[in-house]
Structure formats: C-alpha cells, structure tokens
C-alpha cells in the first residue's frame, strides 16, 4: 500500500466510525420521530407503507405545543449550565495547580483526577445518596457535633443534582484545561510581571485569556452530557427536578411512545448544536 493510500485509509477510520455509530443511529431516530405510535413490535408505524411515504410532523407539533417539554428543556439547560459554571470554578484551580506542580508529580495528580472513573458512575451516585440522605453520613456528623437539630434536606433537591453533576463531570473540565495550561509558555507570565503586572493582573490579562479555549472545551464536555443526563437527576433529584433525560426515559419506557421521544431527542440535539458551533467558532479563531 502506498503512503498516500495508507494515509487516506487511516483518515477514513473516524468517518466510518461516525457514519456507523453516529449518523446511522441518528437517521433511525429521525425516521422514528416522523412515525406514529402503533401497537406492535416495533411500536411505531413504518415510514414507507405499500410504496407510499407516511411521514408526520405531529410528534414535533406535540413537543412544541406542550409547555411541559419546553419547560424540561429550559430547566435542563439551566441546571447543566449552572453545573458547568461550578465545574469551571472548581476545575480551573485544580488544572492550574497540576500544570504548575513539579513535572514528576503531575502524572500522579492527573491519575487522581481520573481515579473516580475506575468505579461505575451508578455506584458513585448511589454512594452520594448514602452521604446526603436524612439519616446519611453528613447529617449524622452535623447532628452529632450539634450544628443541626433536624436533618437537612439535601437529597432529592435540584441542588443535589447540580452537585452530583459537578462531581461526576469535573475530570472532563480539568483534563482539557490542564492540557491548555501546561502548554502555556511560563515566560509569558514572567514577561507580564517584568513589565509591571502584579501576579493577579498577569493572570487576568495573560493566563486567563490564553486558557479560554481550554475552558470552552471543558465546558462543552461537561455541559453536553449534563443536559441529557438521566442517572443523576433520577437518583439525586426530587419531584420538582424536571430534566429532559428523565422525560425522555418516561416517554420511552412508561408511555412506550417511541416517536415522541425520538422527536424530543432530535430537538435536544438541535438545542445542543448551538453552543457547540459557538464554541467551535471561538476555538477556530485561535492562533
């Protein structure tokens, strides 16, 4: 095989991957979203019936007509957005500290950041239930030292969902940010100091702007899965925590309305495409 052909073959791999595992499933989801529910297996009508195209936009009409769905989208974006902001605030100092740590210790610190991944997310969120519930570890400690009389309601709140998301997705914030900060020439910050900038000014005018692409990349990696997150709101959330992932789940499994949940999914993807494109644009301007 020639070098050029080898190169082409290699470059084709991600495209084949995306085609098989992203575009094809997406096409199936779109197809289902244009169908109607039916009793049977699968529980929706065929797109082409006896040679005639049978597509309907009724599901999309339902999605937009029912304010419940719109509310679920808005609340998902809000909670995921808040979690993303908190993840930036928590992740930036971590990434900065690791990037400034002695080189021989960085590997260990990065390992510690990714260590939670060695256990299943489900198990770890269950562990948080044990920590947060009324008779749980945190309440017990607070009660025993006399800080509180009655248990704090921490579990089944939107705050708990937000906290759980920050906990679960923090590594996705830290790693790209670390990669960016680690590549930053230390002479740039030294030069800023030499030119009269206090350390804080040097951070604000040199380190922070130059690390923004890392912040953006990390924010996307946290925000996108958080919007559609199901496990965390289901386990830590309360009755008033409405997120689109939970809605999807109940439409799919409880109502067995595959076409409607497919339409909800397609709309969610459209909602997510906007921030991705916005970030891609800012990253594209980078030197």
């Amino acid at each position: 095989m020639s070098a050029a052909r080898f190169r082409k073959t290699l470059l084709a791999v991600p495209w084949v991957w995306a085609a098989l595992l992203f575009f094809l499933p997406l096409a199936i989801v779109v197809k289902i979203s244009l169908a109607e529910t039916a009793v049977g297996v699968p529980p929706y009508t065929a797109l082409i019936d006896h040679g005639a195209l049978r597509a309907t936009l009724a599901n999309y009409r339902d999605v937009f007509a029912d304010s419940f769905y719109a509310g679920a989208y808005v609340s998902s974006v809000k909670i995921a957005g808040l979690a993303t902001i908190l993840a930036v605030l928590a992740g930036y100092p971590m990434a900065y500290a690791i990037a400034r740590a002695p080189e021989r210790r960085r590997g260990l610190l990065l390992l510690l950041v990714t260590l939670p991944f060695w256990t299943s997310l489900l198990i770890r969120i269950y562990a948080w239930i044990g920590l947060l519930r009324p008779g749980g570890v945190i309440n017990a400690v607070l009660e025993s030292v006399g800080l509180i009389d009655t248990p704090l309601q921490m579990i089944n709140t939107t705050a708990a969902v937000c906290f759980g998301m920050v906990y679960a997705y923090l590594p996705f914030m830290v790693l790209p940010l670390y990669a960016r900060l680690e590549r930053l020439d230390p002479a740039l910050v030294e030069a800023a100091g030499d030119l009269g900038a206090t350390p804080w000014r040097a951070f604000l005018s040199v380190t922070l702007p130059l690390s923004l692409p890392g912040v953006m990349a990390g924010a996307l990696l946290v925000f996108i899965p958080c919007v559609g997150e199901f496990v965390i709101p289901d386990l830590l959330g309360g009755p008033d925590t409405v997120m689109i992932g939970k809605v999807l789940w109940s439409e799919f499994f409880s109502s067995r309305d595959w076409p409607l949940s497919a339409a909800l999914t397609v709309v969610m993807m459209a909602v997510l495409v906007i921030p991705v494109l916005a970030v891609q644009r800012t990253l594209g301007e980078e030197p």
């Binding site: 020439d185 030294e190 800023a192 100091g193 030499d194 130059l210 030197p287």
Partner: protein, 351 residues
C-alpha cells in the same frame, strides 16, 4: 561612572547545583555588559535574579543603591527581553508594547504616543496592528525590544537576544543594539554563550563558569590577557603548554624553552604558558634550536577565506597557527616548518 546595578555576594542553589557562587559585580550606568559562559554556568540565573525572577539564597542586588531583595519583578526598574521573546500571542504588536505602560496607569494619548515612540525606535510603527504570529523572527525580536524600552528601564536585560536569528540578521541586529544603547545611554546586560557575539557587542565582558565570574574586562583585555585556562580557552583559541619556571624570564615545557616578557613566579613554580594562534609565524625549516620556536610537520590546513588555520604536529602537541592568506609563502600539508613567536606574545596562566 556610578554603578546602576551592584551585585554583592549573590548565591543561588537549585537543589545540589550551585548556579551562582557568591557573585559580585558592578554594572555602570552606560555600559554594554556581556555575561559570557557555557550553558549551565549561571549567566541566565544571574540575569533572572536581577529581574527578580529568581530569589537568591544569599547576597543582594542593588539598583540605584536600593536593595532589591524581597521586591517582585513588577516592582523593579529594569526590563528583560526573553530568549523566546515571550510576546503575548493574543494581543497585537501595539497592545504588547502598551501592556507595560498600562500597568503604570498610562492612558489615552499619552499611552499611544509612548507606544508609537517605542515602535518607531525599532522601525516597527507600520506593523502595530499585526499579531505576533504574523511576524518574522527578526520582527518579533524588535517588538520584544520595543516592549521593554517603552518602559524606559534603568537597565535592559537581554537573554540570548540573537540566538534565534539567522547569521546575517544577527550581525545587523548586533550593530543595531550597540547603536541603540549609545542613543539611550542606559546599561544593557546581555547573556550569551557566543564569544564572538560578546566580543563584538559588549564594552565589557564577564566570563562565567560554574556559578563564578572568572574574569571581567574589555573584550580586548580578556583576549590579550586571560588570567586562566578557562578564560583563555573560552575566549578564542590558545596554544597552552604546562611547564616549570627555570629563570626570571624562561619556562621549560614541551615546546622547549619559552622566553616570557610577563613577570613570572619564583623558579621551579608550575605554570602554563599560552600563545594565540595568530601571534605565531611560520617559515621554512631551520635546524638551530632556539627559544620560542618549534619545528614540525603541517598535519592539517583549514582554509577560511581571509585566514587559514594550520595545525603543526610537534611531538604529542598540535600547534594551532592562524595565518593571513596571501601573506608570505604558502605552506601545504606535509611541509616541515618552523613556528616561532615573540616573548611578548606569551601569556602566563595559573597551572
């Protein structure tokens, strides 16, 4: 000339490595000082310590008689041009130059005037709106220079300022730096590992090795009168023989008897004698064995345009001789020649 920078007993350790070993040095207000030495000799650490980027373990740095210990880089009236130039990639050329001035609270017309003035000084005023990555290496160097000069520092610190430039640009920039310093009348301290660069630019050179200053002086003095082997070897080439003093003006060594014009230690003392390659003359072989001459066979001739370097084998030694091309008879590889040098050309070094 008053000292703008005074360094007293400066010591800096990195773990077990002593980067600076009780270095003392005065820098005059109006001089172009080169810190010259091999990599790891401590020259960059010394420069960074003056800028405040390294904290010394002992000793002090005074700038205009004010002790700088405990003062951060942003509080010191000196500016440094980094080897990588360290231009801020997210700012335009003009914003890079304005950065330091903004820290001093300059705004509006006063700010733009100073930026324009600094860029004009390095002939870069037309490129103020460019980003650093749109500049050539030489242009980046000029912007970095302008960014420092805009601050009107008491002294300019330059870390290997010519290392990233190609040969032609290096010579031109060297001349420009010299002119610029004369115009500004402030001290330039330049770190370099290149002896030609140091000799060409500086009014004074401090040769460093292993955290110590071995010798300071005008380039000519260092070249003509090195105090020890390290300076002699680092600053150009020298033919060096170990020997013993045999009289008030003679040393016995592998080159026979060498007569010396410089004062010598007492008889029997061990010394090294050294002669610059260009101080040696070659002629046809002679049989009489006099002092300050040896006879040998030319082992190698390296042609170098205006001059050629000859290596004359004599016993175990290879004598290095530099001769003007076209002056006198040409010698070839394999010729037997007699090389001689005057007593005044012989330097006495510590053994």
């Amino acid at each position: 000339m008053p000292a703008v920078i005074r360094i007293e007993g400066l010591t800096k350790r990195f773990g077990d490595v002593i980067a600076l070993d009780a270095v003392s040095l005065d820098v005059a207000e109006n001089e172009f000082l080169a810190l010259l030495g091999p990599s790891g000799c401590g020259k960059t650490t010394l420069l960074r310590a003056i800028a405040g980027l390294e904290t010394p373990d002992a000793g002090q740095i005074l700038i205009d008689a004010v002790n700088q210990n405990g003062r951060a880089p942003y509080q010191r009236p000196v500016n440094m041009m980094f080897q990588s130039y360290a231009l801020f990639p997210h700012m335009t050329v003009a914003d890079n130059v304005a950065f330091g001035l903004r820290q001093d609270g300059l705004k509006g017309a006063a700010l733009t005037d100073r930026v324009r003035e600094a860029l004009a000084r390095v002939e870069m005023e037309a490129l103020g709106t460019r980003k650093p990555q749109q500049l050539s290496g030489g242009q980046k160097q000029r912007v970095a220079l302008a960014r420092c000069l805009a601050k009107r520092p008491r002294a300019l610190l330059l870390d290997e300022p010519l290392a990233a430039l190609d040969k032609h640009l290096r010579e031109r920039t060297q001349l420009e730096l010299m002119t610029l310093r004369e115009k500004l009348g402030i001290a330039f301290i330049v770190v370099t590992h290149d002896q030609d660069e140091a000799m060409g630019m500086a009014t004074r050179v401090a040769v460093m090795d292993r955290g110590r200053i071995l010798q300071t002086g005008a380039p000519r003095d260092l070249y003509d009168r090195p105090l020890n082997r390290a300076v002699a070897g680092f600053f150009g080439h020298m033919n060096i023989w170990d020997g013993a003093v045999t009289g008030t003006d003679s040393v016995a060594c592998a080159a026979g008897t060498v007569r010396v014009a410089d004062p010598l230690p007492r008889e029997g003392a061990m010394v090294a004698v050294a002669v610059r390659p260009e101080q040696i003359t070659l002629r046809g072989p002679e049989n009489d064995v006099g002092s300050n001459q040896i006879t040998g066979v030319i082992a190698e001739v390296v042609y170098g345009g205006t001059v050629s370097t000859y290596f004359v084998r004599h016993g175990e030694h290879r004598l290095r001789v530099v001769r003007q091309n076209g002056a006198g008879a040409a010698f070839r590889r394999g010729d037997t020649v007699t090389a001689s040098w005057p007593a005044a050309a012989v330097r006495v070094l510590a053994p």
